[in-house]
């Protein structure tokens, strides 16, 4: 059995929080360049220009890309043959968030839902644990902003509604969200499972790289179909019109009850900040 000191987890998490909030993933930046070159609406091109300049400035100055540095969300795959020494793994991750958000001068956005009093250190973070074979620890971090999260929805469709029902719900959601979630967006879609599990699938799907292929050819075709349809809505960057309403669509499915068709749409803003580490 391998052992891992919890201090290693704290430092790795702190590092991811800081780095992810300053440097936009390369696949997202590449997607900006590709989409911008297809735009003919001047406002759309200007938004892409500003977003690209924003990336350069954040990297140069150390300022976060966006003032909303997110609620810290994690997907953790813990190898069952790994022993963690020191802190409990949840404490270690939260200590890493405290350290990263403090040292990186990141905004603390976590608050009590009733009193709205800020918890002061951006914890507790939202952590999804999975126990997997092996002796390594894989932690994926997502700085999830509130504006795009507010535009996300979950619904329980009737099985009879099928793909057409799914398609309409997603398109309607993106249309209603309009300029609010900072388009161009990434749309994470979770289908199946239960009322609580579909949104987890949707959020996890957002960790995939933009422009990658879904390993399931059927889902891959549906992602492409939905992306094309979403972009026909014409909302465009920041809602000012154009070809790029979404940068990509990511779908994940799981079997569900014979009575149900759970569907979750998790919207991610263009500042798609996430990072992964294996320890």
């Amino acid at each position: 059995m391998r052992t891992l000191d919890s201090d290693v987890i704290v430092d790795a998490v702190a590092g991811m929080c800081i780095h992810a909030n300053r440097y936009l993933p390369e696949d997202v930046q590449r997607c900006f360049a590709q989409c911008s070159s297809k735009e003919s609406v001047p406002a759309a091109r200007e938004i892409f220009r500003q977003l690209t300049e924003n990336c350069t400035l954040a990297a140069r100055t150390g300022l976060p890309l966006c003032q909303d540095t997110g609620l810290a969300c994690f997907f953790v795959e813990l190898g069952q043959d790994l022993h963690i020494m020191g802190r409990n793994i949840r404490e270690a991750i939260n200590d890493g968030v405290r350290k990263g958000y403090d040292e990186g001068r990141l905004r603390k956005s976590a608050c009590d839902p009733f009193t709205r009093a800020n918890t002061g250190d951006n914890t507790p973070s939202v952590i999804h644990f999975d126990i997997v074979p092996g002796d390594t620890l894989r932690i994926s971090f997502m700085a999830k902003g509130g504006g795009s999260e507010n535009m996300s929805r979950v619904t329980m469709l009737a099985p009879a509604e099928g793909w057409e029902g799914i398609r309409k719900f997603v398109l309607q959601r993106v249309a209603e969200a309009g300029p609010n979630p900072c388009p161009p967006i990434v749309v994470g879609i979770g289908i199946g499972g239960t009322f609580d599990y579909a949104p987890v699938l949707a959020k996890k799907a957002l960790l995939r790289k933009l422009g990658d292929r879904n390993p399931d050819p059927g889902l891959d075709a549906r992602e492409k179909e939905l992306l094309a349809d979403i972009n026909k809505l014409g909302i465009g960057p920041m809602g000012l019109g154009g070809l790029t309403t979404a940068l990509d669509v990511k779908m994940a499915v799981s079997p569900c009850h014979i009575a149900s068709l759970p569907l979750a749409v998790n919207i991610q803003c263009h500042s798609a900040r996430h990072e992964e580490v294996e320890l």
């Binding site: 500003q50 300049e53 924003n54 001068r105 905004r107 709205r116 014409g234 000012l240």
Partner: protein, 185 residues
């Protein structure tokens, strides 16, 4: 669509000549306030108490900045989504506020208040917080310090880049999604 350089606080004439689609580079003094600060402003108004800044011609920026790093007045400082302030905005426009800065759609009550009181709603680019921070020369907390990022700050801005989304004539720049194109209508 015109391009203007204007100073805040805004005059009635400046606010009324703007049309949706115009680009404005705004300099001068503006005030930050988002959800929690708006709620406190309403409480002060309800109790007939003095507000922390003069509303006449005021421009309110919906922003909760990240902490200022060493040597800079403010951290990243882009707009937050405006609809959450829709329930407060008409009352503030009625008391002299000329403009707000945010991102995303406003409701009919806000659009009517802009018409009635000659106001304007500016959009700034969401998610461009580092870029917009560069146009802020000074920042000072003037009220509700306990709210942290949500405190009211007086900002001195220089050529802050804005786009007129809603004007005093009822104009709206945001695109209506083409639902027909995808069979939703």
């Amino acid at each position: 669509m015109a391009e203007y350089r204007m100073n805040a606080p805004l005059s009635d004439a400046d606010a009324e000549k703007l049309r949706c689609g115009d680009v404005v580079f705004l300099s001068g003094v503006i005030y930050t306030a988002r959800d929690a600060a708006h709620k406190r402003l309403m409480d002060l108004l309800d109790q007939n108490m003095e507000l922390p800044f003069d509303l006449k011609g005021a421009v309110i920026y919906y922003v909760g900045p990240s902490p200022a790093p060493e040597g800079r007045p403010i951290g990243s400082a882009g707009p937050t989504t405006s609809y959450r302030m829709d329930s407060y905005a008409p009352r503030l426009h009625g008391l002299g506020v000329k403009a707000s800065i945010g991102k995303g759609r406003r409701n009919a009550e806000v659009i009517n208040a802009l018409k009635k009181f000659g106001g304007v709603y500016f959009g700034a680019t969401g998610g461009a917080g580092a870029l917009l921070s560069m146009r802020i020369a000074e920042a000072r907390v003037i009220a509700f310090e306990d709210l942290g990022t949500e405190a009211i700050r007086e900002l001195k801005v220089s050529e802050f880049p804005l786009l007129v989304i809603n004007d005093s004539q009822g104009g709206d720049l945001y695109v209506t999604p083409d639902r027909k194109a995808v069979g939703l209508e």
